[in-house]
Symmetry: C2
């Protein structure tokens, strides 16, 4: 088997190799589009399952809207079309004929969903309306990278309408926090939950909240967003309702989404030289059981293995790798590459001694465990691994985080060469954005604090604390 | 509220009104495309959940393949492109430029999935490979009808590859039977599980198995299909594997799918003049609790209602309709329209007497039940309703089913005027297909029996027993 590229010196190559070698995804002959293979899709299904339950508890209902949207719909909201028009895929022909009006493959569904909202919302009694859609969207991508940037990607997009701006803002903030807790508790990823600066907002949003993860190479990854949508959308799409005073009002709208990009973030946060490490709470397979046998004791070992599997099935998502076309060593290598949190080995010596060997993926510590203790041990270790991965990721981010009153001229080259998160002050001067670009950096978010006194760009008085970093 | 069109005299209008009024789906400004609204989508999610568990037990794994497929891929298999080319939506531009090669929005995914199979399959050890995808597909539709024919529809498409033809055939038959059992046990719909005649096969299939439901108007609905795919696909896409004799072989392929069309079938099988009737096993809401209160006893009734809800929550999927902007009568009407199997009413008189009123949707029988008996009653009634709906649907189909040795000239006008299923003999003469069209009929399937002696078309010796009907 091929060794992975060096994670320290060739992080980008390492990332792509892990994605393909661990069979999470594959390239396709369709430019910029990937296939999510079963192992990668099982991770996405875990994410969907957990989030979907949480959405439903908040009264959010799933629905399905058309994939194809008339081009004119995108043009109804000025900023929206400017943001998305360059990226869309356009259907010109269908059913053997040229279409009277071109359709675009949805890059996001605000325009069609708001069109339907206008049909469905009549009175304040119809509000709040909270809709979610699990689907794929298409945004043409010139430099695709699996899970991070592909022309098609899979996501959920939530869309809500509310009577008041306060309620809409609470909704956008609630989803923002729901995402943060999910990323921290399930993906074991520390994320900054903060607002985007105005120039980084969603095309047509009054406010965009973002979740920014810190990858092992010190670059940022935007992991999800939640928007307070401009009321211009309600006006553009004619969404009105009879308010409690029997007048006519425009509702306040939100939208929010997370995507398969989270899988990329998880890989780049936890992986190591051996490959993927999947946090136990999100792992499709938490424990792989590998029987170690020779021809003469094969049946006895497999019998004990199945007994063990039955036991562990009660406490974890498990798989048994029984195949006899591979050596145990080759199996170890493959399941390590795939990032399964725990490996349980069982051979003749174990059977005689009433033990098994339990090996954790992140640290590779081997533990000889009594058969009677194995369920408890596995349960405990899964909890411990989850916590340790989160702690390690937090430590790593702390090591990448620089709080400084230096100006860009002073720290820019360090950012350009070594990446990292720079917490600095900003006056709001937009020239800073262009200047940052030269060093490969962007303003990732505006922090809720205000402690840095000087603008990192021009040295004048600062208005905001921000985080500056390179980003995927 | 509007009354529904008469189900006996205006079945098609009745159907559309039920779909829209019960808020299952809605029309959109995108030609031929519908929105599945939350109530309709919740039914689809129930179907997905049940089927997905069954697929996984058979070792079928979910994955996600590109939505856009190069036009040339469709052209690799001659019959396939002839079947689908007239229906596809074509993307000519993307990312602001004309594409070098047009892409089609997938009408089905054989061509892209087989392309990936060629990359993934090397040895007999890689087989069987069993992949499924939940997604939407686009086939341009001139006469759209919600759930039955829309330009975009939602489905699952399974694709497998096998070492031997026997194994592939077993797989196609296994899925065919899985679908049949699902339709009978969950949707309470009797379906004919049989083979399609050659001219009705999937474009590029050696054999197509179909599930044919009988709607209340005596027309057939194809509810799902399972195909043994021609080995030409493996050749066209270069899928080969090293066989057990170390030679090179082409694998044998299957594909199989069911779609949101099943929702249409369910409506047309069980609905009545009051609207939808959803079989309990598939109903997103099995029991609606409606408190009956006046201003002066509102709190006491609502308190008892919530208590009751807590109890019933243990045994059924329930909802409580607490709103005080509607009369109980209006609520009854709406939940009947939506086809919820059971309604539980609770008012002051009930609270004083320690009773509730339970009303079943199909027969509208009111039962005064002791509070202590309510959970058991609900459980029992849900089972009973499920069984009775299936029995009634079977009786209805039997009443539509005509076994005859008559020729088309004799029964054709009855078919044209009154619909119905005609079980007749067929010599295999393809002229029969055109002749049938004049009466609006098609050959729905070839039965496994051979009891009819004369061909319904030309009176010659019959080779097959077939079912002839009009179809959606």
């Amino acid at each position: 088997m091929n060794k992975l590229p060096n994670i320290k010196t060739h992080f980008a190559d390492w990332y792509q190799s892990v994605v393909y070698d661990a069979e999470l995804a594959d390239q396709t002959p369709v430019r910029g589009c990937m296939v999510i293979r079963p192992y990668g899709y099982a991770i996405w299904e875990r994410m969907q399952h957990i989030l979907d339950l949480q959405f439903k508890k908040l009264g959010i209902q799933n629905a399905a809207f058309p994939l194809l949207i008339p081009l004119s719909f995108l043009q109804k909201e000025k900023e929206h079309v400017e943001g998305f028009a360059p990226e869309v895929a356009v259907v010109s022909h269908a059913g053997g004929k040229e279409l009277e009006e071109p359709l675009v493959v949805r890059p996001t569904s605000e325009t069609i969903i708001h069109t339907m909202f206008a049909r469905w919302i009549h009175s304040w009694r119809d509000l709040p309306l909270k809709i979610n859609q699990w689907c794929s969207v298409v945004r043409w991508e010139m430099r695709p990278r699996p899970f991070l940037r592909t022309s098609e990607f899979w996501w959920q997009e939530g869309h809500t309408a509310h009577e008041t701006e306060e309620e809409a803002r609470r909704m956008a903030e609630q989803m923002h926090q729901l995402y943060r807790v999910f990323m921290e508790e399930y993906l074991a990823m520390p994320v900054i939950a903060a607002a985007k600066p105005p120039h980084e907002r969603f095309a047509g949003a009054d406010e965009t909240f973002t979740l920014e993860g810190c990858m092992q190479d010190g670059k940022a990854l935007q992991m999800g967003t939640s928007h307070l949508i401009s009321q211009d959308f309600a006006r553009a799409f004619g969404i009105t309702f009879q308010n409690r005073q029997e007048g006519i009002s425009y509702p306040f709208l939100t939208s929010w989404g997370v995507s398969t990009r989270m899988i990329g973030g998880m890989i780049m946060t936890h992986g190591d030289q051996k490959g993927l490490i999947i946090p136990p709470k999100i792992a499709p397979v938490q424990v792989v059981i590998i029987p170690i046998f020779k021809a003469e004791n094969r049946e006895r070992v497999l019998e004990a293995t199945r007994e063990l599997a039955k036991q562990l099935h009660q406490v974890a998502r498990i798989t048994v790798d029984e195949s006899d076309t591979e050596t145990p060593g080759a199996k170890f290598y493959r399941w390590e590459l795939k990032g399964v949190p725990l490996r349980v080995e069982i051979g003749m010596r174990d059977i005689d001694a009433g033990t098994v060997t339990v090996v954790d993926r992140p640290e590779g510590v081997k533990r000889l465990i009594q058969w009677t203790q194995v369920e408890q041990t596995v349960e405990d270790l899964l909890v411990e691994i989850q916590q340790k991965l989160f702690e390690k990721a937090k430590e790593h981010r702390a090591a990448q985080w620089v709080v400084t009153d230096e100006t860009l001229a002073q720290f820019g080259h360090r950012l350009a060469e070594n990446n990292g998160f720079y917490e600095v002050g900003w006056s709001g001067d937009e020239k800073a954005i262009v200047a940052l670009k030269e060093f490969g950096g962007t303003i990732r978010c505006v922090l809720p604090t205000h402690q840095r006194k000087r603008c990192f760009y021009n040295g004048s008085e600062s208005r905001y604390d921000i985080v500056v970093a390179k980003a995927y």
